[in-house]
Each structure stands twice: as structure tokens, then as C-alpha cells.
Amino acid sequence: MLAEQIVNGIVMGSLYALIAQGYTLVFGVLDKLNFAHGEIFMLGGYIGVSSVALGASIPLALLLVMIVCGALGLLVEFVSFRKFRSHDAHITSALSSFAFGLVVLDLVQKSWGTEPVAIELPQTLRVANLEFLGVHFSLVKLSILGIALVLMAALHLAIARTSLGRSIRAVAESATSASLYGINVTRVIQLVFLLASALAGFAGVALAIRTGFASSDVGFTLGIKALAIMAIGGMGDLRGAFLGGLMIGVLEALAFQWGFGQLADTGVWLFMIFVLLVRPTGLFAARSSKEARA
């Protein structure tokens, strides 16, 4: 029972980590918060549910979601961040992206209604189980965890090893110097929004598959919680967002197991405040300087 809860926590934590990495990527290159991120994550779930209902296979649905959400991320960048590049404008872009999120939320509620929409999964997929050391693991959850881990590993490799990743790191370090070296800063920022939003979309579908339905309030509950997780892990630090997500996922599952489920939400926020006060670079930030970002 305990082991199952821990696995559940890790699965949930990997989704938190995916969303938090989206926040952290944007924060890394722009030093700004993208409040539309949670709603893009929420939209991902609905698009996934609908494309499965229209007969798409799950991999196809995932691909579709990542394309649509990535495109929406580009739109957010264009509307809410392109004009507010200066350092003083971080409030303006945060509020603008927040309003963008409101529009997405409202349009989703218009198209799909305010009630959660169930996802139609093949029966064989839903009951498939794996037994290991006497503990049952649902295959769906394990594949979600697997794909999430693969995606995050790919992101990490792309940023650490490829030339595009090097451009992202350069812009995170200093946009002005990067542009002097011939890097197209706007393209890099667009790329970051594309990646962040595609990952959020994937997390949205994964959550819909895991819980069995897509719901319009997850953007504001889980989406905002991931913001706190990003700060706990270390703002602008990918590894921090990953470890922070897993840690909060497991702690939350344990809290529910031991009957403090009610306090889990408060706990995350208080923990974030504590971390920001005591160690503003985050719990897991590799290096305290800007080098650690993105």
C-alpha cells in the first residue's frame, strides 16, 4: 500500500516536474513569470480527450496536443512578452499572460462545458497491470512516468549538448551579449516558449489519462502549484524543477496516506515561502550563480 502510494506520488511528481520545467525555462531566459502556462497545461487535457474521442490513437493525440499547445505558447510569447522585454516590465508581462490564461480558460469552458469530460480509453489499457514484489502497478501510470522521464531527459540533453541548447543558455546568461554573438534572441525565446508549452500540453493529456477525465480547474490548482514547485527547486534551474516536482509529488502522496491530505496545499506554499526566505536559489540549484539557469 505504501509502495503504491509512493509510486503514485512519483507519477504525479513527474507531471509537476514537467509543468515546473516550463515555468523555469521561461524564467531562465526572460526572468519573467508566465501565468498562462497553467491554462495551456489545462487545454492540453481537453485536446487530448477530444482527439481520442475522434478516434486518434494515444501517441497521435499526444503529438497533436504538443503541436497545438506549442503553437499557443508562441502566441503567448507574441502577445504578452514580446513588447515587455525590459527588466521593469515583469509585472506587466505576468499580468498580461494571466489575462491570456483567463481567455483560454473561458474559451475552453465554452467549448467543452464547465463539467469534467471523461476520456475514452480502450478497456485493455485501463486494466493492464504489472505485478512486482507483490505490488500492483497500473501500466498506464508507469508509461506516463516513463514518457515523462524520457521527455525531461531529452530536454536536458538538448539544452546541455546541442547548439540550440547552447544558444538558450547564452540568452539566459545575457541576452545582450548573446545577440552580439549573432544569436537571434527572439527565435531563442520563441523556441523556449514552444518547448515549455509542448511539455505542459503533454502533462495535461497525461493527467487526463491518469485521472480519467479532463477538468477546467486544473490550470489554476495544479498549474499554480507547479509555480511554487519551480521556486522550491530553484528558479531558472531545470534539475531543481525536476527534483522539486518529484519531491512534492511523493510528499503529497505520503500526506494523503497518513491523513494530512487537507494540509498538503498549504504545506506546499509555506514550504515555498520558507525556501525563498532561507535559500532563494532553491533547494537543488546546482550553482548559485546565473550559470545554473536553463
Binding site: T92, L263, T266
Partner: protein
């Protein structure tokens, strides 16, 4: 009907000013929805469970929020910029989540039984706070605050106690938000924790940013427009939230510094006084 609009607008103006006061010292607070919640709940408990008169309860609730504001601001002010914003977001979220888990005030179901506030309470309060802010904007204290807001280090080197000022601003903002929350709760008759979460706080900040952060009229105009705009768009029926969101996006693009971005000059009177002798 008209009364509802007056009440809503008045409460929102007060909330916008509560953010503006904190902003005077250079910190942006997303915690004011939480301060408002404390005001609403403390005053409601006082009037419903202990029979305290409304005005006294509102002032007491303001006092509690004042102490709470200073208590959370003292550690929070160790952080700067976006980090401080995140901490205040965290405060708003924690206050809401805590209220949800306290059964004494009804938990998620909410709390009811209070009554007795009229729009005139709020109008009177708007006039009082507005007058105080206007006097402040002409005073020496405003220039001290401007110095802190522009450059803390320079202000500190000129002998200004920066931390003390910032704490005072946080306390005053929390007080006003809480008193506004008290009257709001006693007018609407029923409060739930989820009315006061992060969403409420973001809206309050939005009033100030859309109106203009540099003078007290910006907050007033921003709060009024943002409260009444959804009502004016009644003809759009179900498209209201979408149009409202797009309106915010467009306004920020067209006027990123707010509708009224000017600063009220504070030096005029001082110059005159300097010339006199």
C-alpha cells in the same frame, strides 16, 4: 442594483489603494486578497459569534491584519522583485488554504450570518482613505517614499530607515484591505475562502497596473473601470469573460504604464516655502 455597483466599486477601489500603499515603498504585493480574507473572517466571527458592533469589528479586524501584514512582511522583505512577488502569492494561497481547513469558520462551505454594512460605509471610507492619500501625496513623507522606491541604497545612505517604512506600508495596506474585506463580508452576507485566493489578489494588482502605478488616481480609475466594464459589456452575454480578458491584454499592450501614468509633483509647496524667508 445601483447599490451593488457602488459597493463593489468602492471595495475594489479600497483594495486597489491597499496595493498602491504597499507599492509606494517599492514592493508589489499579491497578498492583499489574503489580507482581505483575514478582515472578512475576523470581523464576521466578531459580529456573529461575539456580538461586536460592525464598525468596531472592522477596525479590530484591520488591526489583526495590520499585525499579520507586518509579521509576514518582516521576513518576506528579505527578498526582492519577482521573489517577493512569489512570496506574497504564497501568502495569499496559504491564507486561503488555512481558512479552508478551519472548521470553526465553516471550512470550504464558507461562513454566513453577518449583515449590516451599507454602501455608504464604503463610500465614506473611500473618501477618508482618498483624502489621506491625497494629503500624503503632497507631503514630505511622499518624497521619502519616492526615494525608497527609486533607490533603496541611496535612501538608506541619507538616513531613511527603509525597512521601517516598508513595514509601515505593508501594515497600512493590510489594514485597509482588511477593513474593506470586513464591509464586503457584511454586505454580501456570505463568504467562502475561494473568493479570496490568488485570483482575487491578481485582480487587485491588475486594477493598479491598468490604472497607473504612479499616483492615487490610477488605482481609483483602474478599479472603477475594471469593476464596471463587465457590467457595461452585459450585451455580450456569454462572451463577457473572453472579451474582458482580451481587453486587459490589449490595454496592457497599448498603455503598458497604465491609463494615468503621470506623477503628482510634490516639490511645488516646498519650493515656495524655501523662497519665503
Amino acid at each position: 442594483m445601483i447599490q451593488d455597483y457602488v459597493m463593489q466599486t468602492g471595495v475594489n477601489i479600497l483594495l486597489a489603494w491597499s496595493v498602491y500603499i504597499i507599492l509606494l515603498s517599492g514592493s508589489l504585493s499579491f497578498a492583499n486578497g489574503g489580507f482581505m480574507a483575514i478582515g472578512a473572517y475576523v470581523s464576521a466571527v466578531l459580529t456573529v459569534k461575539f456580538g461586536v458592533p460592525l464598525i468596531l469589528a472592522a477596525v479590530l479586524a484591520g488591526g489583526v491584519a495590520f499585525l499579520f501584514g507586518i509579521g509576514v512582511a518582516f521576513p518576506a522583505l528579505r527578498t526582492r522583485g519577482l521573489y517577493l512577488i512569489l512570496v506574497t502569492v504564497g501568502i495569499a494561497a496559504s491564507v486561503r488554504a488555512m481558512l479552508e481547513s478551519i472548521d470553526y469558520v465553516g471550512g470550504i462551505q464558507g461562513f454566513s450570518g453577518m449583515s449590516g454594512a451599507s454602501p455608504w460605509h464604503v463610500v465614506a471610507l473611500v473618501v477618508i482613505v482618498g483624502a489621506a492619500l491625497w494629503l500624503l501625496s503632497r507631503s514630505r513623507l511622499q518624497r521619502i517614499l519616492d526615494a525608497v522606491r527609486e533607490d533603496e541604497l541611496v535612501a538608506a545612505s541619507m538616513g531613511i530607515n527603509v525597512l521601517y517604512l516598508k513595514l509601515a506600508c505593508f501594515g497600512a495596506g493590510a489594514f485597509i484591505a482588511a477593513v474593506a474585506g470586513s464591509f464586503y463580508a457584511h454586505y454580501i452576507l456570505f463568504v467562502r475562502p475561494d473568493e479570496f485566493g490568488i485570483l482575487a489578489s491578481v485582480y487587485i494588482v491588475l486594477y493598479v497596473v491598468l490604472g497607473g502605478m504612479n499616483n492615487l488616481w490610477g488605482a481609483l480609475v483602474g478599479a472603477t473601470i475594471m469593476t464596471l466594464a463587465p457590467e457595461l459589456m452585459r450585451g455580450l452575454a456569454q462572451w463577457r469573460p473572453t472579451v474582458f480578458g482580451l481587453l486587459i491584454v490589449v490595454l496592457l499592450l497599448v498603455r503598458p504604464n497604465g491609463l494615468l501614468p503621470f506623477r503628482i509633483p510634490t516639490t511645488g509647496r516646498a519650493k515656495r516655502r524655501a523662497v519665503k524667508p
